[in-house]
Subunit: 140 residues, 2 copies
């Protein structure tokens, strides 16, 4: 059982945010000492996961959905795998952006538009960011 203040110190998440997270049902305090919320120690793990999820571009709602409604990480396997795959795609995007930045930093072509490496990266980028329209091959 740890006091909200200590949770804030140990996790780096401000008390206001902890209260907010509790308000939206993302975490739960188990009791009070005086007025102060007391949290189970594993809230720290949860906050780490939340931070990772946020970093991965998931909304608090999506993250909440990863924890079952009872607070444990128990969701159908395939949903978890779907999330994991989404992360995989996300990582691929970041990789392309990272490579592009590195390339731009190092390539000395007068205009990047003339550099084949750059164009290749951009082609990859547009493949990943463009909304996939159906090819209509089998459509009506």
């Amino acid at each position: 059982m740890i006091d909200i203040g200590e949770v804030a110190d140990r996790s780096g998440v401000p008390p206001s945010t902890l209260r907010y997270y509790e308000e939206i049902g993302l975490i739960r305090s188990l009791s009070r000492r005086g007025l102060r919320r007391q949290f189970d120690a594993d809230v720290l793990l949860k906050l780490s996961l939340i931070a990772l999820g946020r970093a991965g571009g998931f909304s608090l709602l999506e993250i909440a959905a990863m924890f079952g409604q009872d607070g444990r990480l128990d969701v159908p396997r395939d949903e978890l795998h779907a999330k994991a795959d989404e992360l995989q795609r996300q990582m691929a995007k970041l990789r392309v952006l990272r490579d592009t930045l590195r390339h731009v930093a190092d390539c000395k072509a007068p205009s990047h538009l003339e550099c084949p490496t750059f164009r290749k990266l951009m082609k990859a980028a547009s493949r990943m960011t463009k909304p996939r329209k159906l090819p209509a091959t089998t459509a009506v």
Copy 2:
């Protein structure tokens, strides 16, 4: 030179967003046909980069900073490398989250808190998400 409508179709970015991006100086239209904005074809590349940057958690301001004020991708090398490194860290976080989700989906331990793999992942997670406080070893 392509019409805003075609840009929207080809990029998947709605006209309202294109106007917004122009308003904040992220992209530029070069002329009008009647009232309609006409864009240079390379705006499509730029939009791909913007989408990647957004996916990487950069704000529009940060992305704007990656393009020089004149629109080309020309920023000091070290800034670009710094961004690239940030992306690298970001990717590491996503990797941990991905591995955690996959693990949780597959591990059959009664409680994840008892599983050493899970605990190891969580330790990695907290290392990455915790605010690095100075160890004060060499401090005042």
